[in-house]
Amino acid sequence: MLPIQVIIVLFALFTLTRVVRRFHEREISLGGFLAWTAFWTGVGVLVLAPVATKWLARLLGVGRGADAVFYVTLVALCYFCFRLQLKTRDLEHQITQLVRRLAIERMSDR
């Protein structure tokens, strides 16, 4: 096994323990728990058995396994960025509601 494989697998295992702990502490939902578990398990499998990427490449119609992993990762990252942006929007909106309420209440108190 190559050193890089050991590092990535250890990192995936470490992250999986964090995912399990967060789920127990109810900080992530069941859906989030399953998605993250599937993701990091997939990372471990692909690193330990790179041949599995060939199956993914064939499925997607891409030449090389490494390319398939690259494209899938890119799409996943874009999706996460979008999710993060929506979350930020929600937070911004909540801040605005707070600022608005303060502005109106302070005026009404005068």
């Binding site: 942006q85 929007r89 909106h93 801040i95 605005t96 600022v99 608005r100 502005a103 109106i104 005026m107």
Partner: protein
């Protein structure tokens, strides 16, 4: 807080007609969102106060003396502790005005680019003819000198609005508008920043509100042009609006 204007006949006992007019004016609120507008907001407020008693300035987290200048000029000043954007400021002003019993709400930019004389023209369709909204349009007057780049960007905005919101207007980002109380209560305004202008039009279409466009003047000065939106912001505005619309729908 003074809600009366200083008219020449203030000391005289009002007769029935002038009392009715005064009552009507009491239900009219002009909202001025302002962010670092200490150079212009005082003059804007004083001019509006000559026509309308209730002027609400929303100081949107300014770092200059905007709030103090507006207050000295006679406005009711609501203060956002941090900057939240023009859409957020308008919504704050609208919520406050509705809570104070506003029957008609006018929105008016704080940079001095609008003409106070247009307020009455905007209010008339709502008050006299039962329209839900009156929208100012700088393109319905021939004497407005809109810089070419801005004109092209705004016309693209008109096309965008026509396609996405299915509403036919001649101007999309004009800050001069009037709403009836009923309309203001129904508008869902979630866009904090500049996409609120597109959102308002989208809401008018969604709620099938009766609206009329009213020709209004626009007074571009080096100051208002500097304070205004850059044309390059149009893409960001369109993106914000579309994301917001998808989430809302």
């Amino acid at each position: 807080m003074s809600l009366r204007s200083n008219s020449a006949g203030e000391d005289e006992k009002p007769n029935g007609a002038s009392r009715r007019e005064e009552d009507r004016q009491q239900g009219l609120f002009v909202i001025v969102p302002a962010y670092n507008e200490e150079l212009s907001v005082g003059e804007v407020v004083r001019k509006i106060k000559r026509k309308v008693p209730n002027v609400v300035v929303v100081d949107d987290g300014s770092t200059d003396g905007t709030g103090r200048v507006a207050s000295d000029a006679g406005a009711i000043v609501l203060t956002h502790l941090i900057n939240r954007g023009q859409g957020a400021a308008l919504k704050t002003g609208m919520d406050f005005s509705l809570a104070r019993g506003a029957e008609i709400i006018v929105t008016f930019d704080g940079d001095g680019q609008h003409d106070v004389e247009d307020i009455q023209a905007l209010v008339a369709p709502v008050r006299e003819e039962g329209f839900d909204a009156a929208l100012g349009s700088r393109f319905l007057r021939d004497d407005n000198r809109v810089p070419p780049v801005r004109k092209r960007t705004l016309k693209l905005g008109v096309l965008f609005t026509r396609i996405v919101s299915r509403i036919r207007v001649t101007d999309t980002h004009n800050g001069l508008r009037a709403f009836s109380r009923r309309a203001a209560l129904r508008l869902r305004m979630n866009e904090d920043r500049m996409a609120h202008a597109s959102e308002i039009l989208d809401e008018i279409a969604r709620l099938r509100l009766r609206y009329r466009e009213v020709p209004t003047r626009v007074l571009y000065s080096p100051y208002s042009l500097r304070k205004g939106q850059r044309s390059t912001a149009a893409l960001r505005i369109a993106y914000d609006f579309l994301v917001g619309k998808l989430r809302k729908d």
